[in-house]
Amino acid sequence: MEGLLEWLGSTAWSVALLESFWVWPLLESTHVLTIALFVGIVAMNDLRLVGWAMRNVPVSQVTGRLLPWARVGFVLMVITGLLIFYSNPVRYYHNIFFRVKMVLLVFAGLNAFVFHRKIHRRVSEWDQDPVLPREARIAGAVSLVVWAFIVIAGRLIAYNWFDCDIQPQPGWLNWASACPTMAN
């Protein structure tokens, strides 16, 4: 893994990205703005599920007509995110906030999967209800909380407090960041 990432980071495009005066900031700005688009729309959907917003709008309208717009943000967010990772793969791989973010992304994905595959299937039974069944409310609340922490963890990746080259760090942190053991 380490060798693969080191090779990736040494490719000409990766070096050019990291050192570019304009492209890198433009990438990151696009990443942030598309997060506002994606997480914003997902959050409005979640607030409907929890029962805190648009209670008079049928759930199927929100999931069927509003939520698809989040996909636009999602595609751009993932592309820019991957390019940012590509610009400095070894550093991100060992960054504890990046690792936390990736784990949380898996959680968010699983929650969305369960919601769409299981809970949303019976939407016709409670489509117009201002207060939704417990499982729909839980899925909305989980999404809100997990995405909030994804945004926070993502923003904190920029800080190098816990990076492997900053030592000493607690043993568990070096373990969680998979820091090379020579750093201890």
Binding site: V32, G40, R55, R155
Partner: protein, 161 residues
């Protein structure tokens, strides 16, 4: 971008105990900044629910008026959260902001965007029912363009010197 005469005022703001405490703390700025970003997401959602509708997209079966009313508490919450976190960040680095072109672009775009959303968009859309017109489309597009400028300039404060 701003008159030189304003500089002492910005220096005094940066020298306040509040601004100094944030600047000297390792964690305060990053945490405030993260919450500012959460506010941005919420703001994006609360704006887009209405703006997409004005463009004839998204929740088109709902009356515009009703959507504006539904999104309003979240819009206000987002604006409050952004101000409550944005002002402390500004105080911690007021002098840097004074010399920062992106900061001034944001400070010009922000009141325009706020006035547009709270006065014009509300009124223009208030008369319209379920139907989308050229007027509502222009309104939705203007809202997205204005807030995009605010957000993009805001992110760029961190890059430009």
């Amino acid at each position: 971008m701003a008159p030189d005469g304003w500089l002492p005022f910005f220096e005094r703001l940066e020298g306040t105990a509040f601004g100094t405490a944030i600047r000297e703390s390792l964690w305060a700025f990053p945490i405030i900044e993260s919450i500012h970003l959460l506010g941005l997401c919420l703001l994006g959602g609360a704006l887009l629910v209405v703006d997409l509708r004005l463009l004839g997209l998204g929740l088109t079966r709902q009356p515009i008026e009703g959507l504006i009313r539904s999104a309003r508490p979240w819009l206000f919450a987002a604006i409050a959260l952004m101000l409550a976190t944005g002002i402390p960040m500004f105080l911690s680095e007021a002098v840097k902001c004074f010399y920062n072109t992106s900061f001034w672009v944001k400070m010009i775009a922000l009141p325009i965007a706020l006035c547009f959303t709270l006065a014009i968009r509300r009124r223009m859309a208030g008369g319209a029912g379920r139907e989308t017109s050229l007027g509502t489309r222009i309104c939705g597009l203007a809202s997205i363009a204005l807030w995009f400028t605010v957000a993009a300039a805001g992110r760029w404060i961190g890059y430009s010197g």
